[in-house]
Amino acid sequence: MLEIKDLKVRYGNIEALHGISFTVDKGEIVTLIGANGAGKTTTLMSIARLPRPEAPTVIAGDIIYDGESLLNVSPDVVVAEKRIALVPEGRHIFGNLSVQENLQIATYALDKDANVKDAYEKVYSLFPRLYERRKQRSESLSGGEQQMLAVGRALMTGSNFIMLDEPSMGLAPVLVYDMFKALRQMNEENMTILLIEQNAKIALEFAHRGYVIDTGEIVASGTGKELMENPDVKKAYLGG
């Protein structure tokens, strides 16, 4: 579904990715794990084609989605036509709008004849909490609820491929577990997921496959289980 080929990107004069390659197949949950500054977020930003200064410039390699290169595609087309959604780090919800209005903005990406009601129902059944709070200003939600809203908003765009940047950030452990269960449920309903995590343990537990990224290069890959048992990964990311 998604194929990253030898991708090299830079911010200004600083090269952030030194040629990484990986693939995500349809129906998979794939995770990229790694330390701070390894280039995980940069990778997602590049795939979402966000403009500068938010995202880096691609200098070599290619991003191929469903057989077509994304390099010359604008960010709004990535969402509206390629149906790739991004849940950015730090949630980026619209704080002064209500929960419902946040979701409403995401319907911007849907086709004119799309069934908006079904889309709302899908999000509200996955996150009943959001339905309870639909009239509330979203900045008044708790961290966990805001993260649900960010994921719900990405779902509303009608995407079948979703990229998440640190969904566990700032959440209580029990909420992290709930969030991942929701992701698995989405995956069972045909959503392909690319996930970035610092919490390598839970990410590898839920993902089908994983890649370990370190200072702009992929250093290990395998199924979730394989990586969990890999002694190097264990030592560096799983606390021994």
């Binding site: 990535v78 969402v79 619209f94 002064n96 903005i105």
Partner: protein, 340 residues
């Protein structure tokens, strides 16, 4: 019954509209009060047009008076040459009685030309962000004023007049306070259209841009195009307010569209709160009345008004209403106020 109650707010605006018109036609409220009401209408359009860019979209345009000038001059020149004997074309190009029907069209054309001017400014400006947009729009304000100052055809710095004759031509057909009618109509329409715009899914896009450009982009909003549309819309409305302003006074000169006029709009929007349409209307009303009350102080009013602004920033930096609307403060109003 429920339906009537939900629309009570709109009905009461309509009733107020008719009462003012009837009183004006009957001569109960004198011309001075009528002029103040018309200034209020013009300022409502002007302030709410700026609140699209500075309030809802969170960009900073400082030169809105420039677009007002474009609208004012285009519609003035059109209406004077079309409907009255004048220096430019001699005899009127159209029968003066047609002015009754075509007056709003002339005003709208002024608005459209101003919108095009807005687009010309926006295309290069929105390659920048924040402060740079403010600098560019100030420059544009100066460019437009200087251009008009040097156009002998429209009177240069002496100004351009004759719009009163258009009003007389209209009154010759049927006596009726036309200009008052159109100012109030355009003001109500403007507020209604902006309200519809910002509560639509499409219009939510500009609120999204203000909050978070990255998030707006990943919601598939084409931020560049959205900014252009909003800026055009806003400068077009400023042009309409300019056209009406010119016809209310009956005389325009480039001096009335200087940076001071842009500042007035900024004061109104920041007094109102960023992103509150109701606030813009209220502060346009308050500000116009305040200007009239302070008229005896002459230039000193430009000491008093900035002082008020400083006090406001000190004690209520988000403006009178912040980004909330009236029903957020008085939830009971919601019963009478269904505006979507």
């Amino acid at each position: 019954m429920d339906k009537i109650r939900q629309n009570l707010f709109i009905y009461s605006v309509g009733v107020l509209f008719i009462i003012i018109l009837v009183l004006a036609a009957a001569g109960v409220i004198d011309l001075y009060i009528q002029t103040v009401i018309m200034f209020i209408g013009v300022n409502i359009i002007f302030a709410s047009s700026l609140s699209i860019v500075n309030g809802y979209m969170g960009e900073f345009s400082c030169g809105h008076a420039g677009f007002m000038a474009v609208g004012a001059y285009v519609s003035s020149v059109l209406s004077v040459t079309l409907f009255t004997a004048n220096k430019l074309t001699g005899a009127p190009l159209l029968p003066p009685s047609l002015s009754v029907v075509l007056f709003p069209v002339v005003i709208l054309i002024g608005g459209i030309v101003a919108a095009i001017a807005g687009l010309l400014v926006a295309v290069p400006s929105f390659k920048t962000r924040d402060d740079y947009l403010a600098i560019i729009t100030i420059a544009v304000n100066f460019i437009i004023v200087t251009l008009i100052n040097n156009m002998a055809v429209v009177g240069g710095s002496r100004g351009f007049m004759g719009m009163k004759k258009v009003l007389y031509a209209m009154k010759d057909v049927v006596p009726f306070p036309y200009i008052l009618f159109w100012v109030m109509t355009f003001a109500i329409l403007t507020v209604f259209i902006i309200r519809r715009f910002v509560s639509s899914v499409y219009g939510k896009g500009i609120i999204a841009i203000k909050q978070d450009e990255v998030a707006a982009e990943i919601m598939s909003i084409n931020t560049n195009r959205m900014k252009l549309v909003a800026f055009m819309f806003s400068s077009g409305l400023a042009g309409i307010s300019g056209g009406l302003f010119a016809h209310v006074i009956g005389y325009v000169n480039p001096g009335s569209f200087s940076i001071l006029k842009s500042t007035e709009a900024l004061v109104m929007v920041y007094m109102a709160g960023m992103g509150s349409l109701g606030g813009s209307v209220i502060s346009a009303i308050l500000f116009t009345i305040l200007l009239e009350l302070l008229r005896p102080f002459q230039i000193l009013k430009w000491v008093i008004i900035p002082l008020l602004l400083i006090l406001l920033m000190q004690f209520r930096p988000e403006g009178l209403m912040g980004d909330k609307e009236l029903p957020d403060f008085f939830p009971k109003l919601k019963k009478y106020y269904k505006f979507k």
